[in-house]
Symmetry: C2
Subunit: 257 residues, 2 copies
C-alpha cells in the first residue's frame, strides 16, 4: 500500500482539493483527510490498472509496478486496501459531519461505476477497435475527469461554498481534466520515456483511439491550449490569495510527465 501511494506522483488531485477548499474560505487542515483519501483512490486505480489481467504494465512512475514488485496477489489486496483506507481516512474528517458526509458521497460516486470505473469499462470494451469521438470524450470524462471534478467539488463542499462556486469549480475541473487527458495522448507520442517513467507508443501499439489519432498532434495541442485558457478564466470567479493555481493550470498544459 505504501509503495503504491507514497512514491513519485504529481499529487494533482490532492493539491486541487486543498486549494479549492482554501479558495472558498476553508482551512486546508480541514481538507487534509480528503486530500489523502483522493490520492489513495487514485493510487489504487493505478495498481489495479497495471495488473496482468488489465493493462499488464510492468512499469509505473519509473519503477516496477506494484504487481511486478510484490506479485499479483499482494498487488490486488494492496489496491483493495488503499480504496478501503481512503474511506476510512475520509470518514475521520473533523469537518462538520453533514459536509463530510456529502464529500464522502462525491468521492464514492466519482470513483464508482458511474465515474472512474465506468470509464475503465468503456476503455476495455474498445481496446482493439476504434472508438467514436463522442464516446472517447465521455470515457476520458469518467476515467480521468470524474476524480479531478470530485477533488475540486470536495474542496468547495468542505469549506461550505455555495452552489455557484461549486458549479464554476466543476466547470474548471472538466476543462483541465480533458486537457490533462489530451496531454497524456500527446506525451504517448512525443514524450521522453525517462521523464514519463513509462514506455511511450503504447496507445498506438494497442490500437487505441486517442485525440492524436482522431486529429493531428498540432490540432490536439491547440485543444489543450483552448481548454487551459477557458480553465484560467474560470479561476477569476474565485478570490485568490496568490497566483498558485493559475500557475499550476498553465504548467499542467506543458507538463512532460
Amino acid at each position: 500500500m505504501r509503495y503504491g501511494v507514497l512514491g513519485a506522483g504529481k499529487r494533482v488531485r490532492a493539491i486541487l482539493l486543498l486549494e479549492f477548499c482554501r479558495a472558498c474560505g476553508g482551512s486546508w487542515e480541514l481538507a487534509m483527510p480528503f486530500a489523502c483519501a483522493i490520492e489513495m483512490v487514485h493510487a489504487y486505480s493505478l495498481i489495479h490498472d497495471d495488473l496482468p489481467c488489465m493493462d499488464n504494465d510492468p512499469l509505473r512512475r519509473g519503477k516496477p509496478s506494484c504487481w511486478k514488485a510484490f506479485g499479483e496477489t499482494t498487488a490486488l489486496l494492496a489496491g483493495d486496501g488503499l480504496l478501503t483506507k481512503a474511506f476510512e481516512t475520509a470518514s475521520g474528517s473533523t469537518a462538520p459531519p453533514d459536509r463530510a458526509l456529502a464529500a464522502l458521497q462525491i468521492l464514492a460516486q466519482s470513483a464508482g461505476d458511474t465515474g472512474m470505473l465506468g470509464g475503465q469499462v468503456i476503455d476495455l470494451e474498445y481496446e482493439n477497435r476504434p472508438m467514436p469521438e463522442e464516446l472517447l470524450v465521455r470515457m476520458y470524462g469518467q476515467k480521468t475527469g470524474a476524480l479531478l471534478r470530485a477533488a475540486v467539488k470536495i474542496g468547495c463542499v468542505l469549506a461550505g461554498a455555495d452552489e455557484n462556486k461549486i458549479f464554476f469549480a466543476d466547470q474548471y475541473a472538466q476543462k483541465i481534466g480533458l486537457a490533462f487527458q489530451i496531454v497524456d495522448d500527446i506525451l504517448d507520442v512525443t514524450g521522453d520515456e525517462q521523464a514519463l517513467g513509462k514506455p511511450i507508443g503504447s496507445d498506438q501499439e494497442s490500437g487505441k483511439t486517442t485525440f492524436v489519432t482522431l486529429y493531428s498532434l498540432e490540432e490536439a495541442q491547440k485543444q489543450v491550449e483552448a481548454l487551459t485558457d477557458e480553465a484560467r478564466r474560470l479561476l477569476d470567479k474565485f478570490a485568490w490569495e496568490d497566483e498558485f493555481l493559475c500557475t499550476l493550470t498553465d504548467r499542467l498544459a506543458v507538463r512532460k510527465n
Copy 2:
C-alpha cells in the same frame, strides 16, 4: 456487480445490522443503506477471493464464480465497483450525519488492513504451512469476525445506542463470528456439496490449519455450542420485541450451508 451481490446468500451481516438497530430503538429503514453496503463489501470480498491469483475458485454459492462467468478483468472491476458502491450507498444514509459518519468509519475499518483484508493477508501467508492456534483465532477474528462485529456496531450506532449496548453487541458478534468460522471448518469436512454450493475438503487439500485439524470434529462442535450459548446470553442485555435473533443465533450453529 449484480451477479456477485444479488445471488444466493444468507445476508447474515445485513440482518444483524438491521436487527441490532431495531433492538436499540432505531428504525430499520434508517439502517437499510448500511445493510446494503455491508452486503456489498462482503460480496466484493468473495469476488476477489475467488480470483485465479487468490483462491482460484471456480464455484461460489452453487454457481460459477464471478471470474468464471465473466472473465478475470470484469470480476476484478466488479469487486472494485461493489466496494466503491458500498460507500456510495452508505454515504446516502438519512441518519443524523454524525452517526452516519461514525458508522462509515466502522465499516471502512472493519473491511481494511486492520480488519478483513489483514486477515486475508495472514491466511495467504500461511497457506501451505501450519498456523499456531493463537494466530488462527486472530485470522478468523479479522477475516470473518471484523465485518460481523461492524454489522452489529453500525446497527447500534445508527440507533444512537450508548457505549454499554455497543460493547455487548460487539461481544455477541465476536462469539457468533468465531462459531461461524468453526462451523465453516466443520462443514468443509462433513458438509454436503449440494447444500454448500461449493466443493468440500478444500482445506485439507491445501493443507490449511483449521479448528478441525487443531482439535477433533467433536471438540470443534462443542466449542460452537459453548460460543452459541454465550452469545445467546448476551442477547438478554437487549430488550427484544420477538425471538427472531435468538432463533437466528441457534440456527447459525446448526446451519448446513
